[in-house]
Homo-oligomer: 103 residues x 2
């Protein structure tokens, strides 16, 4: 995370919406979320084969989604299974719905 952004002066809701929006601000990450939902979970390799970017780039996007709290990784050696963090996803949904309903 770590922006070049002044955080003081905004309320928590504004920061939360911005953070989740940031996590969804790249089509690859949107696509990853969709895949994880459709399939209930994916290995990294499954995602790589569905997206037009390299494995290292996919890993980077997964890391961002993890740091945003939207997805969970569980080791299943030698693979890693990714799935949506439903609690956090529900939170994000609430933040956005609240934002959109009021605006």
């Amino acid at each position: 995370m770590a922006y070049t952004i002044k955080i003081e002066g905004y309320n928590e809701h504004q920061i939360n919406v911005a953070n989740f929006a940031k996590a969804l601000s790249h089509p690859a990450r949107v696509a990853i979320i969709e895949l994880l939902y459709e399939r209930g979970g994916c290995y990294c390799g499954d995602i790589v084969s569905q997206l037009p970017i390299s494995q290292s780039s996919v890993s980077q996007h997964l890391k961002e989604l993890k740091e945003a709290g939207l997805i969970l990784a569980t080791e299943q050696p030698p693979k890693v299974k990714y799935c949506l963090d439903k609690t956090k996803w529900e939170m994000a949904k609430q933040f956005f719905c609240h934002f959109f309903d009021n605006n």
Copy 2:
């Protein structure tokens, strides 16, 4: 606008969600949208006085929101009145709702 991003390989919906999310990925822009909604419209100066950033930075954020299509500017010399583009805003809402409902 203008990413370092490969666009090929994603569908239109993914790109639309990502673009709108990008527009909302900074707390200042979230705050601006909220202000414009609450007040039905604002002059640039009104926004500057509500945010913890400089006038030039506010102008930059307004420009991004304009380019994302979310807001409209009308000249009222020597001021400029900004308001939500309700049509585009409704579109964004639909894209996100569709995205959240399916995921």
